[in-house]
Symmetry: C2
């Protein structure tokens, strides 16, 4: 038994350097004192009159998490290993939240979270004294207070008897604010459908790691689940079923839920490609509809693209995007623009006739098409977001404020910033959550996924947002996101394919490339914290998967190479 | 709209050749008539007096599935596309089950399913007349009747109004029986814990595809969740927690549940490696306990192996295996035998002293150890099962009836049959469900899993059980199984990582390499059936994942390469 006990002691020692925060704050000082929450612990506002409802709700959620997470420390013995010390530890009676002087009247978290990207105030300061008494969070906005509450929740464990405690007090965080404003996750709800409940659960996970941007790839060639009141025929003929839709109230429900949790929702209506399903109600607008073989007309079945050279189709597309965008609080809207198949247009007699009649080349027509949809966004005061092909492969004029999502390869980021455009990292070689599960097209015995291998959390975590970017362009990097395309996913594996992997980019784009002590982010020191996050997500009903055998999770470092 | 309707019609046409059976019967004749179940439909026994309770229960489950699956056909329009024809279709009032003459008194399914491998009677015949009236299933055993019921359930769809119908009557299946008796699935419950409920749900999935063998890798170096009454200290100190255990009644519950569903449970107690956790209560029996670096002492942490040269440890191991095996109905028991680390023993002073004292080499000691544990199994009338190293890498005398699981590579099967030993295919290059999700050991940024890439359902489906095996040895091939090692799995992704992939081997080892029409099994024709299975599993509460976008599932062939 001797060696076992020795080993346990060593592991406990090693564990003291970890702290269950994810993302790790950019500024952090900790001690080694245990303090617990008193039985009458409360969270109160200080100097904030007329607290916005969503701030009050956020406080209630934090109190609920502190009471219900019941996450015990990941050490041999779990909470019981600390319980004797917890009994005699000083108590915190109160957490007070305050806005810094000059912050002005408190706005709702929703309002703060849906401000234009780059103008949101997410920083906060937090203090937990080592002698108990009162903990504090202060910020310049309610959104900052939310971020602080999210940190606070993660500091507490359960000792197995219902007492919440932190073991690294005093904790001092001074102005922890994100390195990048865009910390995102993309979900495709077109190839397979996800319920509002599934999406809300995903937003819960995002909020718990301070993500700021949900990219909702809501429609695609396979289905059109979005009910647009001005174009009801699209979902009527394009949704998988009458139950697999997002009504206007569903969309409002989701964007409200997200905003209240510090997340802005970027809706994408991908154009002119990825639109086959529109032909079910508007065949006049779609070229090469379900043309065969699909491999000649699209990157995946079914083929079909908007007739970008047709004036009627341009008008339809602009009206559709306007109708959708005008209902959304976000200042951002994506018109997509990826994977345009030229052969589809070459083979489409109408498009050829339209081009001939207008005297435009394909690229000129694409430019006109894009100008038309982006003009609608501009009218609504919104910023366009596009996939990288629009900047790199086509001769499209993009407004200076356009945000370009770099997806084909991380190596393409430089080319985009060299055009003076803002970028969001979404590279398939780091951030595609769907890669590595084999090819999904039929009759393909040995097919692997096009973006093999599987992108591990470690791979995503190793991403450097400024890699290849000259210092003079560093301000063009707005952040990044992991992405789930759902050819082989649906609600069955939504949580397990996203969590905890997607937390990797949440930390990379919040914390940056170095931790609070100045040392580079490192998968070795990150793993114990990521275990904690994963077990905590489980406690909150998110089916995050195991990263290692539980034996390893209880013994930080013991399963390292 | 024209082209859309044309496309839909084509797809409906293509769909007629599919049939939602998995595994596809080895004998099958179908028509193209729709027949439905009458509102008073019942399943009755014919000529079976004193029906075993588990047969009656199986009948009730089938009736429940027929009522509650509510799976609509995977075609555009779903059940509604058939509902007009269903209304006027003839009705089946009754399904009768009978045992063939000479079958003798009906025994329980449990008793039939737990007979020795190779002696189980699983064949059945089934008829659904095209004019409705009475459907029949006959078999030589209640286990055969269960297999027939499982087929019957899969033939029926819901038309969206609660009516169950088949669209390919008359259906005639004459003596569909499995090509191989061992159609298995292995689950590791040691690296991470799974509840009894999780295991039962997995058994439900297995039964629905006529799998016959659940391989329960119940303990390993990381944890010892099995409560053995004679050795209570093992679970007391080795389980992850007092709640994460399998009590004797849990084990009986699981083996009973399995047997009633046509599944025998092979329990494995891996020896002499993979036993580190035993040191928590019996340090005297474990060499190189948690020795560092683990890479020098074990394939994965923590290191620790039974002191195979110690008489006391041999006696302990034999007693432990006997105590566990004697409670189990199966005629099979696995003593493991994989990944023995020789350096562990070389560095262990006690093992070196034991070897010197006995005058045995390491291999002689391993042989004695194995003889001792296998002698206990023989006393209990059980057949030993081992991993391939015991046959190929070590000088261990194995009884002729030993079953060897070939896991390192499919190419090693030949070497084992060349020794005259029976094999079960469990090759990591086809059947490991855990591969391809990246390395799980810590501090390993770019590490992929050792058995990359991900094993797709198509890859597993392409396996030929007789590949490389000379005809003279073909009878030594007892079947095969897919396997889930759970370093990166736990209840969060249990269903999604297993289903529907594990159905691939269920068909390969039931149907063999050719379908009922004599043509080779083919991923192209299999896919629509596998979609059906997957959607049906979902209806039954098993979180099987999407294989393709729903758009493709509704249009067989449309997403083929």
């Amino acid at each position: 038994m001797k060696s076992f006990h020795l080993s346990t002691a060593l592991v406990l020692g090693a564990c003291q350097v970890t702290l269950a925060l994810w993302p790790i704050p950019r500024s952090l000082q900790t001690g080694s004192t245990i303090v617990k929450l008193s039985s009458g612990f409360d969270i109160q506002l200080s100097g904030i009159n007329h607290a916005p409802d969503d701030l009050s709700d956020a406080i209630e959620r934090t109190k609920s998490h502190l009471q219900n997470d019941k996450l015990q420390r990941l050490i041999v013995g779990r909470g019981a290993a600390d319980s004797a010390k917890v009994k005699s530890a000083p108590s915190i009676n109160k957490l007070t939240l305050s806005l810094n002087s000059g912050a002005g009247q408190a706005k709702s978290i929703f309002e703060e979270a849906t401000k234009d990207i780059g103008t949101r105030s997410e920083g906060y300061s937090l203090s937990i004294p080592g002698d108990g008494k009162t903990a504090t969070i202060s910020a310049n906005s309610t959104l900052g207070l939310l971020r602080g509450l999210t940190t606070f929740e993660q500091l507490f464990y359960d000792d197995g008897t219902g007492t919440s405690y932190t073991y690294q007090a005093p904790v001092t965080i001074q102005n922890d604010s994100p390195a990048y404003p865009w910390r995102g996750l993309m979900l495709d709800t077109a190839r397979n459908y996800f319920s509002v409940k599934d999406i809300k659960r995903t937003l819960d996970g995002m909020s718990s790691v301070k993500m700021s941007q949900f990219h909702w790839h809501i429609v695609d060639s396979q289905s059109f689940p979005l009910i647009v009141p001005e174009f009801p025929e699209l979902a009527q003929t394009g949704a998988y079923s009458s139950g697999e839709v997002y009504s206007p109230s569903d969309v409002q429900d989701i964007v409200t839920y997200a905003g209240q949790r510090g997340i802005d929702v970027l809706v994408e209506v991908d154009t002119p490609g990825h639109t086959s399903i529109i032909a079910h109600s508007h065949p006049e607008h779609i070229a090469c509809f379900e043309a065969s073989p699909w491999t000649s007309f699209a990157n995946e079945p079914p083929a079909g693209q908007l007739r970008l050279a047709s004036n009627k189709t341009v008008s339809f597309s602009a009206s559709l995007i306007s109708a959708i965008a005008k209902k959304l609080p976000s200042k951002l809207f994506s018109t997509g623009g990826d994977e345009i198949n030229q052969n589809c247009y070459t083979q489409d007699a109408q498009t050829q006739a339209d081009l001939a009649a207008s005297g435009k080349t394909f690229e000129q027509a694409l430019d006109s098409f894009t100008q038309a949809t982006h003009a609608e966004l501009k009218k609504l005061g919104k910023t366009p977001v596009v996939w990288e092909e629009m900047a790199l492969e086509h001769k499209v004029t993009l407004a200076n404020n356009t945000i370009v999502q770099v997806w084909i390869s991380s190596q393409n980021a430089l080319a985009v910033v060299n055009k003076g455009l803002r970028i969001v990292h979404a590279p398939s070689d780091y951030f595609y959550l769907d890669c590595g599960h084999g090819g999904w097209v039929g009759k393909n015995v040995n097919g692997n996924s096009w973006c093999d291998p599987f992108k591990t959390w470690q791979k995503a975590y190793s991403f450097n947002p400024q890699q290849d970017i000259p210092a003079s362009s560093s301000q063009l990097v707005y952040g990044g996101q992991q992405l789930l395309w759902v050819e082989q996913s649906d609600p069955s594996n939504l949580d397990s394919i996203i969590w905890p992997r997607a937390a990797s980019s949440a930390e990379v784009f919040w914390t940056g490339t170095t931790g609070p002590d100045g040392s580079p982010l490192d998968v070795g020191t990150a793993l114990p914290r990521l275990h904690d996050l994963r077990y905590r997500l489980k406690q909150r009903g998110i089916n995050a998967i195991a990263l290692q055998p539980h034996w390893c999770a209880l013994r930080p470092g013991a399963c390292d190479l």
